[in-house]
Each structure stands twice: as structure tokens, then as C-alpha cells.
């Protein structure tokens, strides 16, 4: 039965993901590597739970990439895209062009026909959008300059797929076996049209997305949202993405590019967050499925059959692409560490290569005996990417960090700052500005490169990078500093940093931002004496102003607010000790509501009624009835 088969497949894929991803995460390998390993495990060469249908799943799952680009578009303001134009066209164009030429040259050197060589060059100039972006996002590196550059290049590659698809049939020659006319590629509206008409159709489609996104989507979503049926909103979001993907395919453009554009157009709309929330799980699952299929498609028989050839090709490909990327990164002014990130990220072949290789075979550009090992190379380089980025992060970057430290140490002696601020976003900047205004020297660690550039312009001593990295902390002078301010916005990373600091720099006074109550508990449990809940002060100030607005004298309102604050801090501290180690989500939720109950219970009963005890005149009035001449008080 078909349905049963489908569920059987789903069972295998889901189980593989559920088992391997958490393990990979726990081992610090990242989810992408987890998915890939899951794919290898269930693939035909290990457990053999999935067979050839893995390829179909792969094509289906590629839609996850389309969704990912839609989501990335949603988070990208049009102005930022405009600022990236030179790196998209310049860096991206050069990367594709130079890589294609060099790889083609090498292929030519091995005695291939020039047409086959050029086809291989073009196919292998591309990188894997799915793996790179997912890994960068997971590591929180999308906003670094290296991450942005990688993203720009990938965007250009998405554009480049279209002309490459158009060029491949022209490279057909007698040496390779001829396939059918137009392979698995579906018919498009522009096929057979004269050049100007095709351009017009494409431009029309793009214009339709931009104008439609601006004018039609909002009222449509407003109408749909009014129905108050959440799944219909989800359906509409999916409809939008799938519709645009189909439209793009029809006019011969990359569907990923189309949805990306739609995402950018909708980035400023009020439905941005709903769309993100609705599409995100689909994207996550499909991408996971995609990575699993890539893992499952690695042809180990092929590798075992020609180990020298395959491994040699993998090493050669990664080396060549890496060198070209490093040079281009240098030319485009990337800092050393960012350039390494950028180059390690993009030094693989991408998922487009699967499509292009099979298309090239059908078109008679490449023979099967060439493409079969190449497909294995593509899958292997993709699978190696998360590993390479891990190696960069754990072994290459630290060396760079140490080098940087050695350079800095020379001048660190006379201007060693007593304060280190980790994270310089909305929260950290305020602290930094206050300290700077009062001539308190602070060294700042920040992962956003734009922010770092700006700060350096103003003469701040700033280090790029992840503040929870031990070597970076040391480079920032954690050995001699007195105070570490943690102003990161990711609760997990804050806890990591607290742990690192307490373990390696016990002399540091750690003052940390707490994201919400649960996080505050965790920080107290991690050993911090004081925690700073990020919204507490603003909320209390509003409460204070409300009481004033309603006529309570300011001084009394302030004292009551302060009293509440003291009470709340005490409650936080008391409750944090009584927290158990909760393992399950349900348990966590129940406990949270119980805690809220406890907090609310201690709030009632005239909190603050003794605020004015010192000025309470009732006792004095009573006494005044008995004896004259009380010393003081009205």
C-alpha cells in the first residue's frame, strides 16, 4: 500500500533525525552534520533502510532551500541588500568566474575535452546554499562580515544557475552519449520566445512579485488573518512560497531567488513574524530531510571502488576552491578571521551540482563514467563542510586569536582595561556609553562586524568574535580585568560564558544580563550573586509612573516601587534554591506556573504598607493624648 510505504519512510527519516541530531549537537558537531550522519546511517551502504528513492526525496527536500531563502529574505531589509550589491556582483561574480575557469583548466589538463572541462568547471564553481547558510545561522555567524560575504556569493550563485543551465546544452559533443531533449527540466514559458520577449516575461514576473508583495499580499493576509483560523494563515504562507517558486520556475528563474525576493519585499510588512513562524518548521524539516538525503546518497561503493580517485578529487576541489576564496576575500578586504570563515564555508560543491550533473549527462555534455564519481565527490564535499567549519572554529581560529593577543599584549600593559563587555548590542551599548562618558576603560567583544567597525572608528578597543571562547577572553585581557559585563542576547551563550569565566578567571566580578526569570534562576544557580533582568527596571519605572499618574506622591511611589523590587529580588533568590532539575517540558511549564503563583502570593497582603512606617503618626497621636511634648514628627 502506498500510504504505508510513505509512513514507513517517514518513520525511518524522522527516527534517524531524532536520534542523530541531538547526539551531534551534544557532541558540538552542529545539526547539519547530525542530519548528514543520519543519512549515511540509513543509506544503502550502512543499514540500507532507504534505497534509490533517496534521490527523489532529495529533489523534494530541495524545497527546504527555497523556504530558507524566503526566511532569509524576510530578515533582510531592502537597504541592507542594496549595501551588499558590490559583494554580490563583484565577489560573487569573481568567485564563480575564477573558480569555473581554474577548475575547467585542471579538468582540461587531465585530458578531457574542453567542453566537458568547462561544464565541470561551471558545475563545481557553485557551493551549497543549504549547508552553508544553515551552519552559519546555527552558529550565529550570519551577521558577521565573513557570513555576509558568504551569503552574497551564494546569492550570486543562485542567479548563475540559470545561465549555466542554458549553456550546458551548447556544450554537448559527440564524445558523450546523447540523452533526451530536455531532461528532467520542466518546460518554461520563455522557452522558444525571442530574447527580448523572454526578458520581458522574466522582468514581468519579478515586477509581479515586488508589486504584488507590496500591494496585494498585505490586504490578502489581513483578510485571511481576520478569519482567525491559524492553519489557514499557515496554508496561505505556504501557498505564497510555493506559488512564487512555481512562477519562477515557469519563467526560468531560480525558485529560491524568487522567494528570496518575495521575502525581502515582505521584510517590512507587519506579517513578517507570522510568516517566519509559519514557514520556519517546514523549512527546518525539509532542510533536515535534504541533509539526510545528501548523506544517504553518498555512494560508498563508488568510493571504495576508486578510493584514490575520489579522495584525490575531493581534496583537490576543496583546496582549489579554498585558495581562490582566500585570495578573493583578501582582495575584498575581509579581516583575516572573517576571510577564513568565508573560505572554509564555501569550499565545497553544492546541491545544484546534483541537478546540473544529471542534466549534463542527459544533454550529452558529460558521460556517465565521468559524472558517477563526480556525484560522489559533490556529496562528500558537502558532507565535509560542517566538519571543515568546525575545524576552522576549533583549531584554526583559536590560533589566529592567540596571534592577535600576542600583538595586542605589547600595548596592553599601560592601557589594560578594568572592564570587559561581552556583547555590544542594544543592551551592551548603553553600559559602554555610560562607562565611556565617565572615562572607565572597557574592552568590548562583539560578533557583529558592522558594530565592530563603527566602534573601532571611535577608538574603542574591540575584538571580533564569540565572547564565550576562552582564547578570545584571554586576548581581551580577562587575566588582568576586574569586571566582566555579559550583555549577550542569547541565554545559552550567556550561561556558557559565565561558566567559562568562573572556571578560568575566578577573580573576575561577573555582572550578567538575565533574559527573563528562568534564565535569572539559571544564572543564580551558576553562582552569580547579582543578576540583572533585562526588563525589570523599565517595567518598574512604568509601574512607578502609573502610580504617579494616578496621583500618588512621587516619593511614596518611588519607595513603594523600590520596596517591590527588593521583595522581588528576594523572592527570586529564594525560589531559585527550591528549583528542581526539571527534565521535561511539561514539568517545566507546570513549575513555571507554580512559581508564578508563589510569586503572586507573596505579592499580596499589603506589600509596601510599611513604607511610611517612619512617618506614621498614629502612635504619636495616641501618645500625645497621654503626655505632652513628644519630641519630633508632625
Amino acid at each position: 500500500m502506498y500510504g504505508e510505504g510513505f509512513f514507513y519512510q517517514a518513520l525511518i527519516y524522522l527516527a534517524a533525525a531524532v536520534v542523530s541530531v541531538p547526539i551531534a549537537k551534544r557532541l558540538g558537531l552542529g545539526s547539519v552534520l547530525g542530519y548528514l550522519l543520519a543519512g549515511v546511517a540509513i543509506g544503502p551502504f550502512a543499514l540500507g533502510l532507504v534505497g534509490d528513492e533517496g534521490q527523489d526525496v532529495l529533489h523534494f527536500a530541495e524545497f527546504g532551500v527555497v523556504m530558507m531563502l524566503f526566511l532569509i529574505g524576510l530578515e533582510l531589509q531592502p537597504s541592507l541588500l542594496w549595501r551588499l550589491r558590490s559583494s554580490i556582483l563583484g565577489l560573487g561574480g569573481l568567485q564563480v568566474g575564477v573558480s569555473a575557469v581554474v577548475i575547467a583548466g585542471i579538468a582540461l589538463g587531465t585530458g578531457l575535452d574542453w567542453r566537458s572541462a568547462l561544464a565541470i568547471g561551471l558545475v563545481f564553481s557553485l557551493s551549497s546554499t543549504a549547508i552553508v547558510l544553515q551552519t552559519l545561522q546555527e552558529k550565529g555567524l550570519m551577521k558577521t562580515s565573513g557570513g555576509r560575504s558568504a551569503f552574497s556569493v551564494l546569492l550570486f550563485q543562485d542567479l548563475a544557475v540559470i545561465p549555466i543551465l542554458a549553456m550546458l546544452p551548447l556544450l554537448a559533443h559527440a564524445g558523450a552519449a546523447h540523452g533526451s531533449g530536455h531532461g528532467g527540466h520542466s518546460t518554461t514559458w520563455v522557452e522558444g520566445l525571442p530574447g527580448w520577449a523572454a526578458t520581458l516575461v522574466v522582468a514581468g514576473a519579478v515586477a509581479a512579485i515586488v508589486v504584488g508583495g507590496r500591494l496585494l499580499v498585505r490586504p490578502a493576509f489581513r483578510f485571511i488573518a481576520k478569519a482567525r483560523v491559524p492553519e489557514i494563515f499557515t496554508a496561505a504562507a505556504l501557498l505564497l512560497v510555493i506559488g512564487i517558486a512555481l512562477l519562477m520556475t515557469r519563467v526560468g528563474l531560480s525558485p529560491a531567488l524568487g522567494t528570496f525576493l518575495a521575502g525581502v519585499v515582505l521584510a517590512t510588512s507587519e506579517y513578517r513574524h507570522e510568516l517566519e513562524g509559519d514557514i520556519e518548521p517546514f523549512k527546518g524539516l525539509l532542510l533536515g530531510l535534504f541533509f539526510i538525503s545528501v548523506g544517504a546518497s553518498i555512494d560508498f561503493a563508488q568510493i571504495v571502488g576508486q578510493p584514490v580517485l575520489i579522495v584525490g578529487l575531493v581534496v583537490a576541489l576543496i583546496t582549489v576552491k579554498f585558495i581562490i576564496l582566500v585570495i578573493l576575500g583578501r582582495v575584498f578586504g575581509l579581516a583575516h578571521d572573517q576571510n577564513l570563515l568565508f573560505s572554509f564555508a564555501l569550499a565545497q560543491a553544492g546541491e545544484f551540482a546534483f541537478v546540473l550533473l544529471s542534466f549534463a549527462t542527459q544533454q550529452g555534455v558529460l558521460s556517465l563514467e565521468i559524472t558517477t564519481p563526480l556525484v560522489a565527490v559533490v556529496a562528500l564535499t558537502m558532507a565535509l563542510t560542517p566538519l571543515l567549519m568546525l575545524i576552522n572554529e576549533k583549531f584554526v581560529q583559536p590560533r589566529f586569536g592567540t596571534r592577535e593577543k600576542a600583538v595586542r599584549e605589547a600595548d596592553a600593559i599601560d592601557e589594560a582595561n578594568p572592564v570587559i563587555i561581552a556583547g555590544y548590542g542594544r543592551f551592551g551599548t548603553i553600559i559602554g556609553r555610560l562607562l565611556r562618558a565617565n572615562d572607565v576603560g572597557a574592552t568590548v567583544l562583539e560578533i557583529d562586524s558592522d558594530q565592530v567597525d563603527l566602534l573601532r572608528k571611535f577608538g574603542h578597543k574591540v575584538f571580533y568574535g564569540d565572547a564565550s571562547r576562552l582564547d578570545l577572553l584571554r586576548a581581551a585581557g580577562a587575566d588582568s580585568a576586574r569586571v566582566l559585563v555579559i550583555a549577550l542576547d542569547d541565554p545559552e551563550r550567556i550561561l556558557e560564558l559565565v561558566e567559562t569565566a568562573r572556571k578560568h578567571f575566578p577573580h573576575l566580578q561577573v555582572l550578567s544580563r538575565a533574559i527573563g526569570r528562568t534564565h535569572a534562576y539559571e544564572l543564580i544557580e551558576a553562582g552569580l550573586d547579582t543578576v540583572y533582568r533585562e526588563t525589570l527596571d523599565s517595567s518598574l519605572r512604568i509601574g512607578f509612573d502609573v502610580m504617579r499618574e494616578l496621583g500618588m506622591p512621587a516619593f511614596e511611589a518611588l519607595r513603594r516601587t523600590r520596596r517591590f523590587r527588593v521583595h522581588d529580588e528576594r523572592a527570586l533568590r529564594e525560589l531559585s534554591g527550591k528549583r528542581e532539575d526539571h527534565k521535561t517540558f511539561i514539568h517545566l511549564v507546570r513549575q513555571q506556573s507554580e512559581e508564578l503563583e508563589r510569586v503572586l502570593a507573596t505579592d499580596s497582603g499589603g506589600l509596601g504598607s510599611d513604607v511610611d512606617a517612619a512617618w506614621d503618626t498614629e502612635g504619636l497621636q495616641r501618645e500625645a493624648g497621654e503626655e505632652p511634648g513628644s519630641p519630633s514628627k508632625e
Binding site: M552, P553, A554, F555, E556, A557, L558, D612, W615, D616, T617, L620, Q621, A624, G625, P628, G629, S630, P631, S632, K633, E634
Partner: protein
Amino acid sequence: MEAEARSDVLILFAHPAIRSSRVNRQLAGAVRDLEGVTFHDLYEAYPDLDIDVRREQDLLPRHDVVVFQHPFFWYSTPAILKEWQDLVLEHGWAYGHDGRALEGKTLVSAISTGGVEEAYCAQGSNRFSMRQLLAPIEQTARLCGMKYLPPFVVHGTFRLSEGEIEGHAKDYRRLIEGLRDGRVPAAKTAGLTRINSDLDALLEA
């Protein structure tokens, strides 16, 4: 009747718990909206005691009469009024060789005490008279070149009836109006233990 120029009056009011006050709230209410009178509630303006010194030093020269209105806490002012003196009366501005900003102005205390009037004498439980206890403020005024008038005092506040408090509030309003309109001759106040001991005689020039 002398036709003196009108004086602008600045009342510096300090009460940390105005809602539980009986006397000061009434006194304040009686003068808060008077024309030519600036009523400045210090605890309301600076609940965190962070006094804006520039603003205060801006305000003072625009007035001729300054009133410290407050309950008598431990023979002194509530904390914020002391803070106000410490911060606002700067050397070189309020006193010292070049400190002449307050010269020639008048300072009056308007005070409520829980103790009855008889307690404020050598034989009473408080052992000193009001004038003696107010010596620090009087001397502060002198050092700033200001005239210091006898205080407006409401004694025995715990035993006052609503009607009596209302009477004091009316007196207070009459005194402030008198100060504003220049109808309180300094000469006639000399020797008074409190300025409101016989307001009718004082104001009926």
C-alpha cells in the same frame, strides 16, 4: 499703609509622606495656588533626592522671599531640604566672597511640630526654644546675606481639631499673602517667638 512693591514668594515644601499628613497638607493647600507664589514640592520634584542644582539656582534669584515649609523632624528639616541646602547653596554662589545671589532676600520657616508650644522652652521636655533649635537655618540665612524672620509654627498637631487646623491654614495663607504684598514689616517681627503669635496685629499696618 505703605505701598511697597510686590515680592515674589518661593515656598520650598518638604514632606515625605504627604498623604498621611494632617497639618502640612492643609497648609500647602491654602497657598499652593496663590498668585505670585511659587509652590515647589521638593519630594515630588526629586523623589530620588537627585536635586537639579542649576534649576534651583535659576529659580531662587527670581524670588524675593523664600519659605521652608516642612514638619519638624528631629529638630530639623526632612532629609531632602537638608540635601537641598547642601547642594544648592554653593560657595561662590550663595555665600563666600562672590556669592551674592541671595543677598537681601528673606527666609522664613513654616513648621509644624507634634509637641505643644510649652514643651519648647528650657523647662519643657525639648529643653530649647524654637528659635534656638532653628539656629542652624537662621545662621545659614545670615551667611547668605538673607533676612531671617521668626518662624510660622503650628504646635501640638496631634491634638488639633479639623477646625483648628483650618484656622492655621487660613493664617498661613494670610502670612504668605502679606509677605507677597510687602505687608510684613521686619521691624514688627523682631522679638516674636513665632510670626503667627498675633497675625492680626502684625498685618494690620
